[in-house]
């Protein structure tokens, strides 16, 4: 299959402008500025069926069309490079290997929505990636791709980057905006949505790094071409990040809608040591876990939702038969309890309570009603919080509890794991 997003990754110095230009870099920007009116550009993106790669899978073209025009207010683009979802490591590679593809995508998005400033919000731990991006931004200014009168088309754009301090909540889009404004990253109440009142209360579009990296290709080769790469309502290719108990963990660029089984067994080389698969978290820790028998599902937003899970970031975490699912669930619960921003009650208290109950079970002090109790706590969290991270904590825990209830009950009854 043709590599699109990752086409430069194997090349020497792939992060430099020189290498990026060699293969037609920034030509899509030139085309966008010359051949497209902003509205037509958004229509083209709509045709591509590109959905946000940050986890929620919102159709990108539609999101862009929410940004009001001609209000006289500044419009901002924020790039969400706060990649913190456990098991997810795709954006960092784009920033490392081909930052110009993201920059070009951001330029195209800004032209489409009329933004004149881009803020790239980078995860605090991504120091090296921030350095590389900084170099790329400088090169882009020098090459005339950022700054005033870009490519002689009268289009102006400035790009700034800012690092977070390592909090998961900063990846939540309104938490990101708060953090960028210099405040604590407590997500905002919606409405208004950021497209109407975002950064500094001005219309703001927030996009994931990988999503933006798709734009140059959509412009260069057309929305319909991009849509055809994937499946219905899920256009394009995707950088899948495979981790866990597979023989060959890593990033694989493959079409949207590929079967999870194919991803694990054909591309990832199957389970390490010839063991049996036990479960897969399909797209980062927020997504409810699947049992081994469910992996014939297509990796796209709709198919996974249909079976009660989520596509998320498209980065599956694979667990083999040696995995204690109570321990795995505890480790996920611990993450969500630790990363709850603490603003609203259900997530703040509920995530920690679930963690404590799982901890108690692992310490051989489980009680017969613990599983049902935790499921009820999940009900009391999900749909009752300010942002989606409460939902994520509840859905992740519920996934383990439902799919591997027998293991929890074994722990409760025997005070130990059935594997030990």
């Amino acid at each position: 299959m043709e590599k699109i997003l990752t086409r430069n990754w194997g090349k020497e110095s792939s992060h430099t402008l020189e290498v990026y230009l060699r293969d037609g870099g920034y030509e899509a920007l030139r085309k966008a500025l010359r051949e497209f009116e902003p509205r037509a550009l958004i229509d083209e993106i709509k045709k591509s069926n590109l959905r946000g790669r940050g986890g929620a899978g919102f159709p990108m073209g539609q999101k862009m069309s929410f940004v009001p025009r001609g209000t006289g207010k500044p419009v901002y683009l924020c790039v969400n490079a706060d990649e913190s979802e456990p098991g997810t490591f795709k954006d960092r590679y784009i920033l490392e290997r081909d930052p110009h593809m993201m920059i070009e995508g951001a330029l195209i998005a800004c032209y489409a929505i009329g933004a004149q400033q881009v803020y790239v919000y980078i995860r605090g731990e991504f120091r090296q990636q921030a350095r590389i991006l900084d170099g790329a931004i400088r090169e882009a200014y020098q090459g005339g791709f950022l700054g005033r009168n870009i490519l002689g088309n009268g289009f102006d754009l400035d790009m700034y980057w800012h690092t977070g301090a390592g909090a998961y909540i900063c990846g939540e889009e309104t938490g990101l905006l708060e953090s960028l404004e210099g405040k604590k990253a407590w997500p905002r109440l919606r409405p208004p949505f950021p497209a109407v009142a975002g950064l500094y209360n001005f219309p703001t579009l927030i996009h994931n790094v990988e999503t933006l990296a798709c734009l140059p290709h959509i412009v260069a080769r057309g929305g319909e071409w991009f849509a055809k790469l994937g499946v219905e309502k899920n256009g394009g290719t995707k950088i899948y990040g495979l981790s866990g108990h597979v023989r060959e963990p890593g990033l694989y660029e493959l079409p949207m809608g590929i079967k999870l089984r194919e991803l694990i067994y054909q591309h990832g080389g199957g389970i390490r040591g010839g063991r049996q698969l036990k479960g897969v978290i399909p797209g980062g820790a927020s997504c409810p876990i699947l049992r081994a028998e469910e992996i014939d599902v297509e990796m796209d937003f709709d198919a996974l939702q249909k079976i009660g899970s989520m596509f998320g970031t498209g980065c599956p975490v694979v667990m083999d038969e040696t995995t204690c699912m109570v321990e795995a669930a505890y480790s996920v619960a611990k993450f969500f309890a630790h990363e709850s921003c603490g603003q609203c009650t259900p997530c703040r208290e509920g995530a920690e309570w679930i963690r404590k109950i799982m901890h108690r079970i692992l310490n051989a002090q489980g009680r017969p009603d613990d599983v049902d109790h935790m499921l009820d706590l999940c009900d009391n969290i999900q749909g009752k919080t300010i942002c989606a991270l409460g939902d994520a904590a509840a859905m992740a825990a519920r996934g383990f509890l439902r799919k591997f209830r027998d293991e929890f009950e074994f722990h409760v009854r025997h005070g130990r794991c059935e594997l030990s």
Binding site: A167, I169, K184, L189, A337, H338, E339, S340, C341, G342, Q343, C344, T345, P346, R348, E349, G350, A351, E352, W353, K356, I357, R360, R367, H373, L377, D379, N380, I381, G383, K384, T385, I386
Partner: protein
């Protein structure tokens, strides 16, 4: 007129204004939706989630405090889904909350207790240890924090950011380990810091002045007006009558702000809040006269007849211009009106002035605190109790050795203000110095006669605030010991001086006053209610120059040395 929308709440069809929240509409309908973080005076945080309600066609429950009503919306505030959400939130809030209500100062006025009884009533499912946090952490001079009891609703944080504008508080850490605190090196020390205790729905923020001094269910409550400055913030007085031995005989336990959108909204300043101790401390208890350098107790009849004959003697010997009267802007209108009737009109005393300028200008800001630390300067002005027609101001006739032979002082501490030295010529010349007031001070200790007055909480009456708002005080307590309300003392004194005022209560006095003062036209106590009435002070209508008990043309004189009264603010 704002646009109306049509919606249904709990089966009742309503037409609220567009932009109103579900919670506001429910409040108007008398449907109570619980709330912690929501406070009508603060921005909406939406973080506690206790106000979740069911909205038909919405995929999940919505917070009533933030969600605006929409055309065609159907809301259920107490259906099964809403109740489950509410119980779930309550359970979460109590997971790490100590369940030691009997030792908590908030018990009895705690919203966790109340809502548990109203909406909770579940059996605890908690088997885990609670998270330990800071206990009894002093945040500032007025407020102490128990972080374990805090439900992190951020009302206090928002108060400091939005109302006080001082930004001392923040929620630190993350998740279940979050704690309220002050920024490093910062104290919660702003002029309104006590308000965070009022708005804290739980026992997290308590009042260092009040905590552990009384159980709230033993307290009685009455409405009043703060006498601390010219704003006249509406307050509730909490006093202890049911368990007097609990507070070593102290009656007043605390003051709380009382909502009045025309004056103070939900707030009051610390200066006013903690300025109540004089009600129970250092009071004058019995009428006294000075004899041979010490004071002897008198009964009221004796004291008043001595004062009356003393005044009469000075007037007969030296004429009315040898007498000066200093009414106080701390007194009610009712008392001031009788001062006017008795001294200015009946006895013809010309040296009358309520205004003793303070030594230094008081602290003031652009919110509630006024430099004029008197609650009723406007009332005293309205009643014309200041020198006119070329008469000197009080400071002038006190310090420049006027030919005064008798001085009748209400509440002012002249010696405290000017010092013994400056007043020696005056005092040396006086044949009679009467002090009528509530508390001992340097002036009461020099007076020939001391007449104990009731304090503002011990009588009914009215004050006029700096904007001309006439507000009622309600009697909370009986006058301490033998003290009497000023009006009673004046009515009795007037009889002895040949004036039959005939008043038998404060409202009667008010009605007489209202008939004569244009700014009070048509008012009575019922009309004032508990929120007061803004009277028309344009042009500052003053007491009629020629007094004939009939309405006459009013003087528009505006002496420059007095604090301004204006409706303009």
């Amino acid at each position: 007129m704002a646009e109306k929308v049509h919606c249904t709440i709990d089966g009742r069809t309503v037409e609220p204004r567009r932009g109103q929240t579900i919670l506001q509409v429910a409040d108007e309908l008398g449907i109570y939706i619980p709330r912690y973080c929501y406070h009508p005076g603060l921005s909406i945080a939406g973080n506690c989630r206790i106000c979740l309600v069911s909205v038909e066609k919405a995929p999940k429950p919505q917070i009533a405090c933030y969600t605006q009503v929409q055309e065609g919306m159907t809301v259920w505030t107490h259906n099964e889904a809403a109740q489950k959400a509410r119980r779930g939130v309550l359970e979460f809030l109590l997971v790490n909350h100590p369940l030691d209500c009997p030792v908590c100062d908030q018990a009895g006025e705690c919203w966790l207790q109340d809502y548990y009884m109203q909406f909770g009533l579940y059996t605890s499912r908690l088997r885990e240890d609670k998270i330990k946090k800071a206990k009894a952490k002093v945040l500032g001079p007025a407020v102490i924090l128990d972080a374990e009891r805090c439900i992190l609703c951020t009302r206090c944080v928002r108060f400091c950011n939005e109302i006080a504008g001082t930004h001392e508080l923040e929620v630190f850490q993350m998740g279940a380990h979050e704690e309220l605190g002050t920024y490093p090196g910062v104290e919660l020390k702003n002029p309104y810091s006590g308000c965070v205790v009022d708005i804290c729905p739980v026992g997290a923020l308590t009042d260092r002045d009040f905590r552990f001094k009384a159980r709230v269910w033993y307290l009685s409550e009455q409405k009043s007006v703060c006498p601390g400055c010219a704003t006249g913030c509406n307050i509730r007085v909490h006093f202890n009558q049911k368990r007097t031995h609990h507070a070593l005989g102290k009656r007043v336990m605390r003051l709380k702000p009382r909502y009045n959108p025309h004056v103070n909204d939900w707030w009051m300043c610390d200066e006013g809040r903690y300025g109540y101790r004089w009600i129970d401390e250092g009071r004058l208890l019995v009428p006294q006269k000075r004899r041979d350098g010490t004071y002897v107790d008198l009964d009221w009849d004796q004291a008043l007849s001595d004062v009356a004959s003393g005044l009469r003697a000075v007037m007969d010997k030296h004429g009315p211009s040898s007498v000066a009267v200093l009414p106080s802007p701390q007194q009610t209108n009712e008392a001031l009106y009788l001062v006017r009737r008795l001294f200015a009109e009946h006895l013809g005393v010309r040296h009358v002035d309520f205004w003793i300028p303070p030594a230094t200008q008081g602290y003031h800001d652009d919110f509630l605190i006024k430099a004029d630390k008197n609650p009723n300067s406007a009332g005293a002005r309205l009643l014309g109790l200041f020198p006119r027609d070329g008469s000197p101001a009080a400071e002038e006739f006190l310090l420049n050795h006027g030919p005064l032979k008798a001085l009748y002082v209400f509440r002012h501490d002249l010696l405290g203000r000017y010092g013994e030295e400056a007043l020696r010529p005056l005092l040396g010349n006086l044949e009679l110095l009467v002090y009528q007031g509530t508390n001992r001070n340097a002036t009461s200790r020099r007076a020939d006669y001391v007449l104990p007055s009731a304090a503002y909480m011990e009588e009914h009456g009215t004050f006029v605030n700096f904007k001309g708002r006439v507000q009622r005080l309600f009697q909370c307590l009986e006058p301490l010991a033998q003290s009497l309300p000023d009006w009673k003392i004046l009515v009795r004194l007037a009889v002895l001086l040949g004036l039959e005022l005939g008043h038998s209560g404060q409202e009667e006095i008010f009605l007489d006053m209202a008939r004569e003062i244009p700014a009070l036209d048509g008012l009575d106590y019922a009309a004032l209610g508990d929120q007061g009435v803004e009277s028309d002070f344009s042009g500052i209508p003053l007491w009629p120059k020629t007094v004939n008990r009939q309405r006459s043309n009013v003087s528009r004189e505006q002496p420059a040395h007095l604090p301004r009264v204006t409706n303009d603010e």
